[in-house]
Symmetry: C2
Subunit: 419 residues, 2 copies
């Protein structure tokens, strides 16, 4: 069994001035992890010759596999390909298969009336010391290099192109080339208990863990995820991991929400499918974000019928039939309003369950009585409903996320409790 | 004027197994950039003593300012603080101000009935060789170290705590300590032209740029952003940057969408406010995501009235009054359906403009005639409407994003064209 270490190098000034958030690295790390490769370091550097060269030297000194994304486009700021050619001591040649593919793409997919430009032809150039990794979904091919027993893979930074090359070429290659260990994770989510109190409670458990199992605390959204990670020979390691995870689940039973690393939207979908029931949402302050989370799950059309985003009070009145009196007396951000929103959307959408939210997300719109961050949530069905008032202290974006997560959590608990 | 280089080190296994996407680094980089500090490298390492130590050595060798986030929590997997204490040759002491703050938080904000735990007291421990950077919004303080004329700042990984410490302490300190250059960016967005054809068109412009101005191409969503970045003495640099940006705008005039780095949702808001008009959405396949993008903009309640997410056909019929015949003959994913959805939502929401989408986002639900990725978009008002059929070739998440971006783009163009 070989313990293979990987480094990820991402290239591009946009990553260093904050214009783009790097989501590629997380995806690559997760996929590598699944096949037993441990990502050791991730480095982001700009489109600068010396910085990229140095990063290659640095990472090659400590890792066995170096995955590089970005800087392969057709324009002058993309210097990765000539640099790699120099770094591995090759010279540029046209790769005929890639040229055919690029020509085909421009003629038949992009349907450009113009002839292929010199820069497009350049997309088909590769260092003669690399193995070309065919990119069916874009113009820039992946490239594989070997030096001093280290593997280097260069891929485009466009997420779906990088993913294609990883899945088609890189992951199968690594599995074939190395005798990889098993790496397993077990994650559970707790709510209603702080990280430190949780740690205090399970410190006996934590000290009982063998060397090859690590416990991590991931606090977020007022909840704490606990993750056990084990590495080793598959069968034995998986057995110990499962055993330890069972013990952990018992120790936090009363505060545990889910014993899997799935979102509340996925959990909600599972609960609804089990019961063959449907749900709808009536959203004010979240502006459709709850519906978006629900419909991000593939297959959600089975149990999700729709949503009324009633941002303006007239929509609350006309479509959801919130009473004028309620809006005039207690206002849109009130327990009575969200109760009526649930009733209204249950009726208009004809669903078994519904969730409604109304609140003030900021930065403006708060008052002394109802400051920014005040939210009312209601979940219910035709028989009963539950409400909750919450206060969030963050910026608009995070307040919206927190409201949605808490609303979905409440909906799951409501269904789980037999309603 | 000093050219100060910064490195960002993020610490945490969760960043290396793909469980968490690092958004902190992009934010830090953007803020540093604004005050004239150039981020040179970003490194992510796990909760491993040697890896963190080595990262500190590496980054200190090339950067003047090293910003570190993560690993400051109260639990056993958080090793950053003792490590920094060792690294800078200090010993741990209790910081009385932090202890008072932590005690206050637990008693009055978290309202824990239990006494302060030993691990919570530990949150107030700091190396005696650091300057404490007070964290008003959390328990873990920031810490400032100096060694060989390099500045090291350690901050918690929780985004809003990190942001507080950056804004309150770190950014003002850097501005005070160094004579920083001006760094300016100008960004514009083009649509309908490929990166390589764009590059071909403006290659004369690109070669005319002075050394201190860089041009970058950022392709995404079938559009290409062009960014000019300049560094130098403020007044002179800004003048040249503005002059070059004017030339660039002229060269791409016919394909330019916006000459700012703002989202389509922000642009839509601006256009609507200028005209004092309102908008609503009727969404099938995007499941509320367009409404979410619109309402992510602060102040959107002025021009956004609401949305009907009509995931199920019954909602299209009952609330939006799409005709049974249309659904039975040409189906939900059709030009006729999105036209009727726009009409329906204009009426039920009483807005000036509306946008509607219907499509198949995948992975299932496609057919030979309407494969996954087929989308109809309609934008309109009470006088006219425009429709467009699109095909996306990606995964569910990206198909939803692309549909929403294109729908918002169409809505902006429709309004801009005087409708």
């Amino acid at each position: 069994m070989q313990n293979i270490k990987a480094s990820i190098i991402t290239i591009g000034d946009e990553l260093l001035i904050g214009q783009v958030i790097d989501t590629n690295s997380a995806w690559i790390a997760e996929e590598l992890n699944k096949i037993g490769v441990w990502v050791h370091r991730r480095v982001a550097v700009g489109d600068t010759w010396n910085d990229i060269w140095k990063a290659l030297d640095n990472e090659a000194a400590i890792s066995d596999v170096i995955l590089i994304t970005g800087g392969l486009g057709p324009t002058a700021d993309d210097i990765t390909k000539p640099l790699l050619c120099d770094y591995f001591g090759g010279k540029m040649i046209i790769d005929e298969a890639t040229l055919q593919h690029v020509t085909y793409l421009f003629e038949h997919v992009f349907k450009r009336p113009m002839p292929l430009l010199e820069v497009n032809r350049k997309q088909a150039e590769v260092p003669d010391v690399c193995t070309v990794l065919k990119n069916d979904v874009g113009t820039a091919p992946g490239m594989l290099f070997e030096k001093n027993n280290k593997l280097f893979v260069s891929m485009p930074g466009v997420p779906h192109e990088m993913k294609f090359i990883m899945q088609q070429h890189v992951l199968p290659l690594l599995k074939l080339k190395f005798d990889l260990p098993f790496i397993g994770h077990r994650t559970l989510l707790t709510a209603g208990i702080g990280e430190s109190f949780l740690a205090e409670r399970i410190k006996g458990f934590e000290s009982s863990l063998p060397q090859n199992i690590k416990l991590a605390y991931l606090p977020n959204y007022g909840m704490v995820r606990l993750r056990l990670t084990a590495q080793g020979e598959k069968e034995k390691t998986e057995n110990v991991l499962n055993e330890k995870f069972s013990i952990l689940k018992k120790e936090v039973e009363d505060v545990m929400v889910i014993d899997e690393d799935i979102s509340f939207a996925e959990l909600l979908g599972r609960l609804l499918k089990e019961k063959n029931k449907t749900v709808s949402t009536a959203e004010s302050c979240t502006g459709g974000y709850i519906a978006h989370l629900i419909t991000s799950v593939a297959g959600s059309s089975v149990y999700f019928k729709g949503s009324v985003v009633s941002y303006d009070n007239s929509i609350k009145q006309n479509i959801l039939h919130v009473s004028d009196e309620t809006l005039a007396t207690v206002g849109a951000v009130s327990e009575e309003t969200v109760r009526q929103m649930v009733k209204g959307v249950l009726k208009v959408m004809q669903t078994d369950y519904a969730v409604a939210v109304s609140g003030i997300m900021g930065p403006d719109g708060g008052s002394a009585e109802k400051p920014v961050g005040t939210v009312w949530i209601c979940v219910g069905n035709n028989n009963s409903a539950e409400t909750k008032k919450m206060h969030f202290r963050f910026d608009r974006k995070r307040n919206i996320e927190l409201t949605a997560i808490n609303a979905l959590h409440m909906m799951c608990v409501f269904i789980k409790n037999g309603n």
